[in-house]
């Protein structure tokens, strides 16, 4: 058992582009579900639209990276409007089903061979982060070439640039959410989460607030997809419903109706994933677990599933949440 390498890889999971992407998506879901009470099970769809919007803008239309990212965000706003206007009046579990269906439609549209010229279908898209004409994300990298950091937190200048960008975006998102929720707007949202009729009787346009919450959370999700995509290539196989479920797990772990809960939940989720994906195969090869290494890797997802169940049964408020504040807990 190579504990040194296991520890090293585990700690690395604290700060990776994937961790930041998850944190952003979980923040978006916190806006949707934690604060506004919207059961959005299609967050993977928002991430896909953000990422593909960015990649397609750069590859097919030749946009510079920052404009491509704005297109990704705009795409998610449009998706939120198309999704929200008809479905926001649906009851909880119906909204859940509608949002999963919408995200699956998005994924299938990115996967189909019909649009392969633009989306790359199953192969996905490559080569949009560094462009020959210098307009790519990595082309704008101000960090000189080299290796930085220490121990498990060692990065080359490309990854470091993505991380820096991601952390800045995350900080802005956290501030945005915090500022909104402590304002009168946030008060209305919390009221809507508990009882829409009461808030309507006080003269507030409940539908408009819910739509705003959906758009904002969707933009956070899209930014998560963009950060993930800026670190590598994009493929539709990532944006499956399992991704949505993992983000829900991160959110519930940290605390659905808190500001820092989703971020910390995402970090803990990834650290645990990093730990398990290193430890379990080693336990298998060294014979302590009587399974093959492929089976050992599958085990970590089994543990996520069990973990989610235990979490929502025994501690639905997560680490930082306040049980009194939750509307979905009886």
């Amino acid at each position: 058992m190579d504990w040194g390498s296991i520890l090293n890889n585990t700690l690395a999971g604290f700060l990776t582009p994937t961790t930041i992407a998850f944190a952003l998506a979980a923040l978006g879901l916190a806006m949707h579900f934690g604060f506004a009470g919207l059961l959005n099970f299609g967050i993977a769809g928002f991430m896909a639209i953000g990422g593909y919007g960015y990649a397609i803008s750069v590859l097919t239309f030749g946009f510079p990276w920052w404009l491509g990212m704005l297109v990704g965000i705009l795409g998610s706003v449009i998706f939120a409007l198309i999704l929200g206007i008809p479905t926001l009046r649906l009851r909880g579990d119906y909204l859940a089903i509608a949002t999963i269906a919408a995200a699956e439609i998005a994924r299938l549209l990115f996967l189909t061979t019909a649009f392969t010229d633009v989306t790359g279908s199953a192969d996905g898209l490559f080569g949009f982060n560094t462009r020959p004409d210098g307009s790519g994300f990595q082309n704008s990298n101000p960090i000189p070439a080299g290796t930085y950091g220490f121990g498990p937190f060692t990065y080359n200048e490309q990854t470091l640039w993505v991380l820096l960008f991601g952390v800045i975006v995350l900080a802005v998102a956290v501030w945005f959410l915090w500022a909104l929720m402590r304002s009168p707007w946030g008060r209305v949202i919390k009221g809507i989460r508990e009882d829409e009729e009461a808030v309507r009787s006080l003269g507030k346009n409940v539908f408009a607030y819910k739509l705003q919450a959906l758009v904002i959370g969707g933009v956070f999700g899209a930014m998560g997809g963009i950060v993930y995509t800026a670190a590598q290539n994009i493929s539709p196989g990532v944006y499956v419903t399992s991704l949505t479920f993992f983000i829900w797990t991160s959110l519930l772990l940290g605390g659905a109706a808190t500001i820092f809960g989703p971020v910390i939940g995402a970090v803990i989720f990834w650290v645990i994933q990093a730990f398990l994906s290193n430890v379990l195969p080693e336990l298998a090869t060294s014979g302590i677990l009587p399974v093959s290494t492929t089976q050992a890797s599958t085990l970590r997802f089994v543990l996520v599933g069990i973990g989610l169940m235990l979490l929502v049964i025994y501690r639905p408020q997560g680490i930082f949440g306040d049980k009194r504040e939750l509307t979905f807990v009886k």
Binding site: T87, I97, A102, E104, I105, L108, W248, T298, F301
Partner: protein, 432 residues
């Protein structure tokens, strides 16, 4: 489970059992043969059958190419061939006409034709060869054949959808782990039918019985304690999602990431009428579905427990107040839903064809579409919804690309939720 079986019910039960045995027996008759295959390390497969006037032709060369990958093989003694491909995308399949017998050629579509994958990672490509009596497949024939395949698919979906609807009706739970209950049945049949080499008419009932047992354990070990604990509906839904993840990956743990087959999956398709070609397995599946559905309908309408189920779906408080043992009925509903799902899994394994760890997950949203369309909480609505979804999915292939077949059903799902959320047969109060 004690309900008084009077003579009438006893004889109906007998007929049902005999019919079921005959159908299970029928499924095991189609003898499996090993096709000449290449590229087995890949998970996606293109396969086919070369015959002239019903007689298999050996030694015909088939080439597949696309996406930078090329492979070829020759047909075996039964005229079968199978080529594994690395990715799910469009490929060109060429039949080398020089390897056909004298005077025989490809009649339609040319020697090189394109094939695209649909819902699954296996696709068949057959060439029409012979001495030239084949008619052009008219649009009408295509519509009819797709309709029939759609009914076949819809019947299978219906078995699974009914369970989802009943569970929702009696407990209010939207069960996201139902897809895994479908996969479970297929995997159980695989273990007993292929792993332990038991004949199919034994393996399949065992698979269904085990699925029923799964339903029992889930209610006893998880759902009832959580109901007693007073968990909210949203919490229960998230628990079902966690359960879905757990079961999915446990299944992957057990059978790995590849695709397995049940015996008889590649039974030859017989020309029935028009462009409709069904194998004996297809016919058995459809027959089995119909028999089981009829038996289920009888149970729901005529037996005491069936009526109690409908009473609870309508009005749980009133049902409990009138002396119905709600917990016991819910237990029965879970057992039944799981058994039906398990059977649906076996049929899905033949339809795809193939057993894969996420096969149930693939159709979960289609099942929800069926249930929503028919009306959440109504069993007959779920059946009708499933048939409509099945036909819609197959028919949409006429207008939209095959790999977007799913999208049609999903769009229907969303539209139904917007326009008439209670579905076709549901009642309006259920929604807001």
């Amino acid at each position: 489970m004690k309900f008084l079986l009077d003579d009438k019910k006893r004889s109906v039960l007998r007929i049902v059992l005999v019919a079921l045995l005959a159908l299970f027996g029928g499924l095991s008759v189609s003898a499996p043969a090993v096709a000449d295959s290449v590229g087995e390390e890949y998970s996606a497969t293109i396969f086919g059958n070369v015959k002239v006037e019903g007689e298999p032709v050996q030694g015909v060369r088939i080439i597949v190419d696309g996406g930078g990958y090329t492979a070829e093989t020759v047909t075996d003694a039964d005229g079968r061939w199978s080529i594994g491909v690395p990715e799910v995308r469009a490929y060109n399949v060429t039949l080398d006409e020089n390897t056909l017998p004298e005077g025989i050629a490809v009649l339609e579509g040319g020697a090189t034709q394109e094939v695209e994958f649909g819902l699954t990672d296996r696709v068949a490509k057959n060439f029409f060869i012979g001495e030239g009596e084949r008619n052009e497949t008219s649009l009408f024939d295509q519509i009819v054949s797709r309709f029939v395949y759609g009914i076949n698919f819809g019947l299978m979906l219906g078995l699974a959808a009914v369970g989802v609807s009943l569970v929702f009706g009696t407990t209010g739970l939207s069960n996201f782990s139902h897809g895994e209950m479908v996969t479970f049945g297929a995997v159980a049949a695989l273990i007993f039918g292929v792993g332990l080499q038991l004949p199919l008419f034994v393996a399949i009932p065992i698979a269904v019985a085990l699925s029923a047992g799964l339903g029992w354990s889930l209610d006893a070990g998880l759902w009832r304690p959580l109901r007693k604990k007073g968990l909210g509906i949203v919490q229960l839904m998230i628990v079902s999602i966690g359960l879905s993840l757990t079961m999915r990956y446990v299944i992957q743990f057990v059978i790995g990431g590849g695709t397995e087959q049940l015996p008889g999956f590649d039974a030859p398709k017989m020309q029935l009428f028009g462009a409709v070609a069904l194998s004996s397995t297809d016919l058995m599946s459809m027959g089995l579905s119909v028999v089981v559905i009829v038996a289920f309908a009888y149970w729901l309408l005529r037996t005491k427990t069936g009526k109690a189920t409908r009473a609870i779906s309508d009005n749980p408080d009133l049902a409990a107040a009138s002396g119905i043992d709600v917990d016991r009925v819910i237990r029965i509903v879970w057992i039944l839903a799981a058994a039906l799902a398990g059977l649906a899994g076996v049929l899905w394994a033949y339809f795809r064809p193939g057993i894969k760890w996420d096969m149930g997950t693939q159709i979960l949203l289609l099942i929800f579409a069926a249930v929503t369309l028919g009306g959440l909480g109504t069993a007959f609505g779920a059946l009708i919804g499933a048939l409509i979804v099945g036909v819609l999915v197959e028919m949409s292939g006429l207008i939209i690309p095959a790999d977007l077949k799913y999208v049609g059903a999903l769009v229907v799902l969303i539209v139904v939720l917007l326009v008439r959320p209670q579905g076709l047969l549901g009642r309006k109060q259920r929604i807001g």
